[in-house]
């Protein structure tokens, strides 16, 4: 999977590149609009993370040009401008998703994976943890042959944790993801525990979602990888 990150801040590119590389994606970057267009027209990417405010050519123009050139690579807009008009404009011009700065790396990971899965085959739409399978397209959870009914909010939390396997997700991140921008995540993060408790009860397995005291929650990959081995819960 090849991802292009376009942003005028090298710091942001560095962090995003590092985080994506850890997930075994191949990441390239561009610091301005012209460079970005150059790369997009010369290399086939699987996903483009695109900032709007860029030197030379802005993100909206890039989006318009690549869509006019019939390049259908999924585009995730990253921007500091989060007015409704900007969002609508971006989505109208063919962006696939929209993430407002400042964003959490976990939110970025979840959206990246969701976009990549949506673009690829349906078989990729399944997320697994132990014997529990979550289908991101039909939005169903099954355990073995049994179907599990979850509320939209529980599903959203479970999906977010699965997208960020092996990463410890704070209550705050979960609250922000589930309730969105307008709500005060400081109020809502207190109620994440209740939802986690309900999910555990429904999947009837206390070990899939682990609590990391003082930090948050994590779903560990049973097959194991480098990140999870280092985790304090495993120490």
């Amino acid at each position: 999977m090849k991802i292009l990150v376009v942003d005028d801040e090298p710091e942001i590119i560095a962090h995003v590149t590092q985080a994506l590389s850890e997930q075994r994606y191949i990441v390239e970057s561009a610091l301005d609009g012209e460079e970005a267009l150059d790369k997009i027209f010369n290399t086939p990417y699987d996903l483009i993370l695109l900032d709007i405010m860029l030197p030379n050519v802005d993100g909206f123009t890039i989006l318009k040009e690549i869509r006019q050139a019939k390049i259908s690579t999924p585009v995730l807009m990253l921007t500091a401008r989060d007015s409704v008009e900007d969002k609508i404009m971006g989505l109208d011009w063919g962006a696939d998703d929209y993430l407002a700065k400042p964003f959490s790396i976990y939110e970025l990971m979840a959206r990246t994976r969701a976009l990549l899965r949506r673009a690829s085959d349906n078989s990729d739409s399944l997320l697994m943890a132990g014997d529990v399978i979550l289908d991101t397209i039909s939005r169903r959870v099954t355990k073995g042959n049994q179907s599990i009914t979850m509320t939209p909010r529980e599903f959203s939390i479970f999906e977010f944790l699965l997208y960020n396997k092996n990463r410890v997700i704070s209550r705050f991140n979960l609250a922000e993801h589930v309730w969105g921008d307008d709500f005060d995540p400081f109020t809502m993060s207190n109620f994440i525990d209740v939802h986690i408790k309900n999910i555990r009860k429904k999947i009837n397995d206390k070990n899939i979602i682990k609590t990391v005291r003082g930090i948050g929650f994590v779903i560990e990959d049973q097959t194991g990888n480098s990140v999870c081995k280092k985790h304090p819960a495993n120490r």
Binding site: D82, K101, P102, I105, D182, N190, G214
Partner: protein
């Protein structure tokens, strides 16, 4: 008062004043004129008729028959002649029936005289002749008395050595009738003139104000919708041309400053949010490192939360700046009831955890017009506040009542309330009733400011009411 009415009033009242003065002069002259003519008539009557006859000069042998011969000509006049010793020398026919006291005035004057209804005068006036029988009856007081105005004048006539006083009078009933008619006509004319003046001034005011009204409507339209439009300039370089020009240059500056502010908000968003993003990414990635001492990983969590608080604050501040730009509304019609139900659903956990009872009173399926995203933000902020600043096992009442010209959305909650002196200030930026309370709840002090701005953007306003330690209510009033 509208300027239209002012101009109307001025033109009408000035016109009426001129009209009034003119009418008064005309009336005054017109009333005086017939009397002057009458006085002249009476004097000529006497002077012409009583030219001293030749040869009769001496007083003693003066024949009173002279007066009868000369003066008993007309039944229209009341004439009485006295000699120098105040003895009656001659009485005209009319004077035999009607008593008019002799007067010492030098000037002619009007006097109301009581006259028997069937007096000679009366008959004469109606074409009859003086009837002695009627006269007799009159003396006995058998007839009704009526009052008739007379013009009375007195002359002193020299007849050689002796002289006579002559008092002459004439009924002015007809003249008065004429004068009354004249007054009537003048008053009618005055009323008609006033009406014409009002209509004229109304039309004139319209004519003068029409271009101003047009310019005003256009200016309002421009400031409400499209700042890039301008008022078309007329061909004549008159005052209106200059007004339009001034307005246009004002719009230029406004448009520039709006664009400038928009650019500033966009720049600030970029310049503030990018560093926060970098810090957040760094901190989140550092938190994944498992080889850090415990105090450092705890420190990172705290820092991440501080950073998020800051990021939220920046977001709210930028939101307020955007809300101050008038043209950021996108109006649509949506189901307010459903929106509120969804928000309450999101808050369900919060209510459950603190045992808050909630009551919602919104007309089912009520559709309102407004900016959906912004109204949602407004409602969330109100409910969030009501939940945060509530007491344990408290209550929240949400009501939405469409009234004649406005929609009233009120959120009432139990709790510590807001002290009276702070009620006005809670809508201001960063105003907190109690610093510690707000930090405990994680608020930024901008929630109600945003509510207020959104209400203002929709042309409405917010009313805060509270009773300390008991309840608090925020009411948003939006025009329909």
């Amino acid at each position: 008062m509208q300027i239209r009415h002012k101009i109307n009033l001025w033109i009408t009242s000035l016109g009426l004043l001129v009209n009034l003065v003119l009418a008064s002069i005309i009336l005054f002259e017109a009333i005086e004129l017939p009397y002057e003519a009458l006085d002249e008539e009476l004097e000529i009557e006497i002077r012409e008729d009583l030219k001293p006859p030749d040869g009769i000069i001496t007083g003693q042998d003066f024949n009173p028959q002279f007066f009868s011969d000369q003066l008993d000509f007309d039944e229209l006049y009341w004439i009485k002649v006295l000699d120098k010793d105040q003895n009656t020398v001659f009485v005209s026919k009319l004077a035999r029936h009607i008593e008019i006291p002799f007067h010492d005035k030098q000037e002619a004057y009007n006097c109301d005289i009581v006259v028997p209804e069937y007096s000679a005068f009366y008959n004469q006036k109606h074409g009859g002749n003086i009837n002695e029988a009627v006269h007799e009856k009159n003396r006995k007081g058998d007839f009704k008395k009526i009052i008739i105005p007379f013009r009375i004048n007195r002359f002193k006539i020299d007849m050689g050595e002796t002289f006579f006083y002559i008092q002459i009078a004439r009924s002015i009933e007809d003249i008065e009738a004429e004068i009354n008619e004249l007054i009537h006509i003048v008053v009618m004319g005055f009323v008609v003139a006033a009406a014409i003046l009002m209509i004229f001034s109304y039309l004139l005011t319209n004519k003068i104000l029409q271009p101003i009204i047009e310019i005003n409507a256009l200016a309002r339209e421009i400031s409400a919708s499209d700042m890039s439009r301008r008022i078309p300039l007329g061909k004549n370089k008159d005052e209106l041309y200059h007004l339009s020009k001034s307005l246009n240059s004002m719009f230029d500056r406004l448009q520039q400053s709006f664009a400038g502010q928009k650019q500033l908000v966009a720049d600030a968003a970029h310049e503030l949010k990018s560093p926060i993003t970098m810090l957040l990414l760094f901190i989140e990635r550092s938190m994944e490192r498992q080889d850090l001492p415990l105090e450092y990983s705890k420190g990172l969590i705290i820092q991440a939360n501080i950073l998020r608080r800051m990021s939220r604050l920046v977001k709210n501040l930028l939101d307020i700046s955007i809300l101050e730009l008038k043209d950021s509304l996108s109006i649509e019609t949506f189901d307010l009831d459903a929106m509120m139900a969804k928000i309450l659903d999101d808050f369900e956990m919060v209510f459950e955890a603190s045992g808050i009872q909630i009551k919602k009173k919104i007309p089912p399926g009520y559709r309102m017009k407004g900016d959906r995203e912004k109204i949602q933000r407004l409602l969330i902020n109100l409910v969030d506040n009501a939940a945060k600043y509530n007491c344990d096992k408290g209550k929240i009442k949400i009501a939405c009542t469409p009234e004649n010209h406005c929609l009233r959305i009120s959120v009432w909650n139990t709790g510590p309330g807001i002290p009276e002196q702070d009620l006005k200030n809670v809508l201001k930026k960063f105003y907190r009733v109690e610093k510690s309370r707000s930090q405990r709840h994680g608020g930024s002090g901008l929630g109600l400011t945003i509510v207020n701005k959104i209400a203002q953007l929709h042309g409405g306003h917010v009313i805060m009411e509270s009773e300390a330690d008991t309840w608090c209510r925020a009411t948003v009033i939006l025009p329909l």
